[in-house]
Symmetry: C2
Subunit: 423 residues, 2 copies
């Protein structure tokens, strides 16, 4: 029977889940795939802590050298996260011809090309199902099931923390700050939540998905990014009346050979399949020219769902005779192939003084910037009026120019919210 | 560059879609996978008709001998449907060492074991993504992405025709007969709709999915099957008030090492992710012990979605150096491993005479058969009362015994509807 040795780097949530699944399923994997996969080493910084958390003493090491020099280790599964030391460890592993499996979206999004180069030299494999969507098989779908399609669109709810926060704000009418605090207490958000709530995590994942889908590596710098920390419960409530659900969406589109990619909050029409994806669930919506619309839904994070993706990659890698190469994809997209001035419908809320002629001034600014209005609703207060506009499809640059001009009007107290609308 | 020749059997909806996709994507497949895949032959009964429908004269043949004896043909993609002559053609192809790709769920569900035997002899491959869920990558997910999981449940909306009919009945308040007639006129239902509306098609697909998921071949005879032709608009309307959506669901579960499998209409709680899958869309909901819940959603039929699955399999097969074997799965499940007396919640509607004591008689029959009631609602008419019961989890055998006893009561005019309820 084929024997495969695995080293797990890191013994946190994902590393521990990976270890447990590999150990429990060893016999089943032998039966189903005829391969005996054993965990040969677990690399951690603090060996005592890892043993206390259930890692077997005899497997634990704090030396990457021990791992890369061990010829019985074929696959290195990285579950550390962050750039260093993970990057150095993976490069050392690839140099020694060991295939790598990683759950590290930040590292992979930022250094795919470099990792690919080292992998190509020793013909080792790169596997990264666990970087996107936890247990949802979105990488496998893109690489093994879309061969008959030119991908046209990706729309994903790919960050569980923000989806959890927005779902609770929406369900409970609670403020962002209150829900975030509670999410932190419950372990659904980190003590420093920036990577999640400001959309960095989602943009790393979108970079990976978009690169695979459109066959050109799209660095995160090319992704427009906006987080959820400015989302007000007031807008969520108005959105509900308009038939919208608020989501942090990662969107990438192929338009006339160019790529548009962005991560930002959106109002989704309630009838959209993604609108009902709530709490910590993730979902990715794909459009292919032949297959049409596909949606994949599941748990985007957690020890066992993400561990399941890591183990799936380990078994998948163990069965390969020759590893797939992504050298084409690793070519960075040309600047001229990136669309930054994208189009969208927009929701705009502003507070204006209740004086005659103000609406005419506002609408003429919209008109002069080629922004046309679908609907308007007004709520009067003491001397001020809150106005909500929803626009037809407009250009991002035009809407931003319109907002700058509106803000400079003395009658406009504030442009309170700008949220893109997806149908 | 690796060259792969493909023969397409049949030039109907799926065969034509397959041909068009393969032809249009030939250059892209060369770039992405380094394989030149060409269509070398198209087998049809009526060559003139095929040419009139767009098949190139020089590829069309009515002789399977020409195909199996052609050494430049590596893969045979069967898009004929039905048992014969498809079965003979596939066996001839496998005998000659050609891998087969099929969209034929009936053939595959009934003769997987036999095809597997022939494939094993010549080490040819069997690929069948297109048999289930059209363009939804459910076979790929089960075979390439669930290695870390023991599958516990499959629940699927896997027949587009019935989902289309039930969605329209529900949306429009129209009767089954009216919607069926319209669906036939629009091409969403066959002139003989039996295979779809009576659940045969769904049970073929469930046989394939369940066999893969649980690693034991489950013949269709072991699947409880009930169609939608008796569904009344009256029950759909009452279901709506109770918070239910009507769906034809295919369900398979692993319970204590045994398999339970059934296809029948259900009332699904509106909050279930499958409840919002409407029209001709399909979706498959999977539960794995580690990954938790996953749902895959997309177009379950049509020329391009199903053609997309066929072409995906062709490219997947073309890239294999050694084809996967399913000899374990091809072993038929033991009778003792099949659960026929499954449990469910039930919706029951009956018409009874408006006489004293009838309710007490009914409830005592329920009680004596271990069926306990969650809710009851009554609508009085002229001398008769329509009563709807929803039960707690009960055994199928018990509920059927209760119905038999209820039907024999002189006060019970009819048990009008029995619909299982899924939460």
């Amino acid at each position: 029977m084929k024997k495969i040795g695995v080293a797990i780097l890191g013994f946190g949530t994902v590393g521990c889940g990976t270890y447990n699944i590999l150990t429990e399923r060893r016999e089943q994997i032998k039966i189903e795939y005829g391969i005996d996969i054993t965990v040969s080493a677990i690399l951690v910084r603090n060996t005592h802590k890892a043993v206390a958390n259930g890692a077997p003493q005899e497997l634990v090491t704090d030396s990457i050298e021990e791992i890369v020099s061990n010829p019985s280790i074929d696959i290195v599964a990285e579950c550390i996260g962050g750039i260093e030391p993970a990057k150095t460890y993976l490069i050392e592993s690839l140099k020694c011809g060991k295939s790598i499996v990683t759950a590290n979206k930040e590292l992979f999004a930022k250094h795919w090309g470099e990792l690919e180069k080292y992998a190509a030299e020793t013909k080792a494999g790169l596997y990264f199902e666990a970087t996107c969507g936890g247990g949802i098989p979105v990488i496998r779908t893109l690489t093994q099931a879309m061969q008959a399609n030119t991908l046209l669109q990706i729309k994903g709810i790919i960050n569980g923390t923000t989806n959890y926060i927005l779902s609770r704000m929406s369900d409970e009418g609670a403020s962002y700050d209150d829900v975030l605090r509670d999410a932190q207490a419950l372990g659904f958000a980190e003590s420093d939540p920036t990577a999640d709530v400001e959309g960095y995590d989602a943009s790393y994942k979108l970079s990976i998905l978009s690169s695979l889908a459109f066959n050109r590596f799209l660095p995160v710098e090319n992704i427009y990014r906006e987080g959820i920390s400015n989302i007000k419960i007031e807008d969520i409530n108005i959105g509900k009346k308009l038939g919208y659900t608020i989501k942090l969406l990662a969107i990438a589109k192929l338009i006339d050979g160019k790529i548009e990619a962005r991560v930002h909050p959106v109002f989704l029409k309630n009838s959209h399949p993604l609108a009902s994806v709530s709490g910590s669930f993730n979902a990715v919506f794909l459009v292919g020219d032949n297959v049409g619309e596909i949606m994949l839904y599941g748990r985007g994070a957690g020890s066992l769902p993400t561990g399941s993706a890591v183990v799936s990659d380990i078994v998948f890698a163990a069965r390969q005779i020759e590893h797939a190469r992504y050298s084409e994809i690793a070519d960075v997209i040309k600047k001229s192939e990136v669309i930054s001035d994208f189009t969208s419908d927009y929701y705009l809320r502003m507070t204006v003084l209740d004086v005659q002629g103000v609406l005419s001034q506002i609408t003429s600014i919209f008109a002069s910037n080629n922004v046309s209005i679908t609907s308007m609703r007004q709520d009067s207060g003491a001397g001020v009026v809150s106005i909500v506009f929803v626009t037809h499809k407009s250009n991002e640059n035009n809407i931003k120019k319109a907002i700058a001009e509106l803000s400079s009007l003395s009658e406009v107290q504030a442009v309170n919210a700008l949220i893109r609308v997806e149908k």
